[in-house]
């Protein structure tokens, strides 16, 4: 441990904890979707797990915000870091939103779409994992953090392709138009998890650029 920066170390631990919780929220969403596709009644347990994890992430975020202003890091960096954490938190919010959409509306997911949707959530999770690593690397190796920003963009792009394919496939199906619109919102929202991860990676990039001399 860096003995001269205990406040900073504490904040870094909290940030890593927050990132882990957001990752677990998305993982739980994926597990929830898998379960919903096979047995929608049993999936409710997983749904609650998503809500709980999102709520835990929220709590840690608030703790980071409070502790940050006790004097950790330089003042001009605090704002950047808080913006970054809030941006990460919005990813968990989106995962929760997707879980809400499905659990509360209980849509019928056509078999033709299930694999595509699971692929999408896997890629959204991968995108998040890249940005998560880039944030962790801010505190370990700034140059490598930049490399993970690029990887985040790449993964988000892959997810975009799958998302487009899913929507195209959806509108080719012979189902009611309102069902299509309902499913489209789910597909788009899963895509938003990757989009928000990319937005967060933009913030990481700004932090790196600001520190470049």
């Amino acid at each position: 441990m860096w003995i001269f920066g205990k406040k900073e170390e504490k904040i870094i631990e909290l940030i890593k904890n927050h990132l882990d919780l957001v990752e677990k929220t998305i993982e739980s969403l994926r597990d929830y979707l898998k379960m919903y596709f096979s047995d929608s009644e049993k999936a409710t347990v997983m749904y609650k797990k998503v809500l709980n994890l999102e709520s835990d992430a929220d709590r840690v975020r608030r703790k980071v915000e409070t502790d940050m202003y006790s004097g950790a890091f330089l003042p001009n960096f605090r704002g950047d870091l808080l913006g970054l954490i809030e941006s990460v938190d919005k990813i968990a919010n989106k995962a929760e939103f997707v879980a809400d959409l499905i659990e509360l509306q209980r849509p019928i997911i056509p078999d033709e779409l299930k694999d595509g949707i699971l692929k999408q959530i896997d890629l959204s999770l991968d995108t998040f994992r890249m940005v998560k690593r880039s944030i962790e690397l801010l505190f370990e190796d700034l140059q490598k953090a930049g490399e993970y920003v690029i990887l985040t963009e790449k993964k988000e792009h892959e997810e975009d392709e799958i998302e487009r394919g899913n929507i195209k496939k959806l509108f080719e199906l012979d189902i009611e138009r309102c069902a299509k619109l309902e499913l489209k919102e789910i597909i788009r929202s899963i895509g938003d998890i990757a989009d928000r991860s990319e937005d967060t990676s933009d913030r990481v990039e700004i932090v790196i650029l600001k520190r470049r001399v």
Binding site: G5, E8, L74, N76, R211, V213
Partner: protein, 307 residues
């Protein structure tokens, strides 16, 4: 005692204004807290004045052959000039005001040491350019070292430590160089060099401790617009320049030195921060400040002889 009062006032004003050039950016950006910065700055100013102020005090003391009253009047004229010009928002340098004040009275009385005056003027002209060159070189040297620091928290910690070291060194240089402005005109006629260094250093420290916050914030925010790293490089370049002139024995403007440092670091970074306005302010510092102080000191001396 009455001869020392203008010096104490000038020292106080100098401390209140010029501490901003060494700790301003660090305080304004929150790198170091204001109160602790002023305490460290005050201590190092006094040490600088006592340890390194002798050469400058000797130069200013031998610029003219006037007595204690003329010395005190020169200092008072400089103090008045600095106050008026600060109030009017004009660029002002205590070093140039003091020399203007001494030369003003010296022109009436005769006895100006033109050789020393030439040395002083050359030093003034070279100050911003010297600091600019140092700012450029230091930036180029320090950048690869800073880039080796991999994480944000260690970067931040390093910046904090460097801010204290550079601030303390800058304060030391400020004391060593600028103490001659405060009590130099009284050296020989009224004060010994060690006594002049002590009184001058304490006066500057008093200004730093009691009235430096406002200028620190104003100047600091302007400089810190660069970034922490570049602003610390600029302050280091300024401190090094001012310290070199303390060794040579010529009081120079820390404000002009910091401008040079900022420009040099800026050029090294690839941004041109220079402008016609900055150049005009520097030229005004060279010409306008000593002229105004000279006119005031001549008028005051005329009044003094008539009363």
């Amino acid at each position: 005692m009455i001869f020392i009062l203008p010096a104490i006032f000038l020292g106080w004003a100098l401390g209140a204004n010029d501490a901003a050039n060494v700790f301003g950016p660090s305080v304004a950006s929150g790198l170091v807290p204001y109160r602790k910065a002023t305490i460290v700055s005050a201590i190092f100013v006094v040490i600088g004045a006592i340890v390194g102020g002798a050469a400058g005090l000797e130069t200013i003391g031998s610029l003219s052959t006037g007595g204690a009253a003329e010395g005190a009047l020169s200092i008072l004229s400089a103090a008045i000039s600095v106050t008026i010009m600060t109030y009017l928002g004009l660029p002002v340098s205590t070093s140039q005001a003091v020399v203007g004040g001494i030369v003003g009275i010296g022109l009436i009385l005769g006895g100006i040491n033109w050789k020393i005056l030439l040395k002083v003027v050359i030093a003034w002209l070279a100050t911003p350019f010297g600091a600019m060159l140092l700012g450029y070189i230091l930036y180029k040297i320090a950048t690869p070292i800073f880039r080796r620091i991999k994480s944000v928290q260690i970067q931040d910690l390093s910046l904090k430590i460097v801010a204290w070291v550079v601030g303390a060194y800058g304060s030391f240089s400020l004391g060593a160089n600028n103490v001659a402005n405060v009590t130099g005109a009284l050296v020989g006629s009224y004060l010994s060099i060690p006594m002049a260094a002590l009184i001058g250093g304490l006066s500057i420290a008093f200004g730093i401790l009691t009235y430096s916050r406002k200028v620190m914030m104003t100047v600091g925010k302007k400089i810190v617009e660069l970034d922490h790293f570049s602003s610390l490089i600029s302050i280091f370049a300024e401190s090094l320049t001012v310290w070199v002139y303390a060794l040579i024995g010529v009081p120079v403007s820390t404000s002009q030195a910091i401008v040079g440092g900022v420009l040099g670091a800026g050029y090294a970074k690839g941004t041109s921060l220079g402008s016609k306005k900055i150049l005009l302010r520097i030229i005004f510092g060279w010409v306008g400040t000593p002229t105004v102080a000279g006119i005031i000191s001549m008028s005051m001396y005329w009044l003094y002889t008539k009363l």
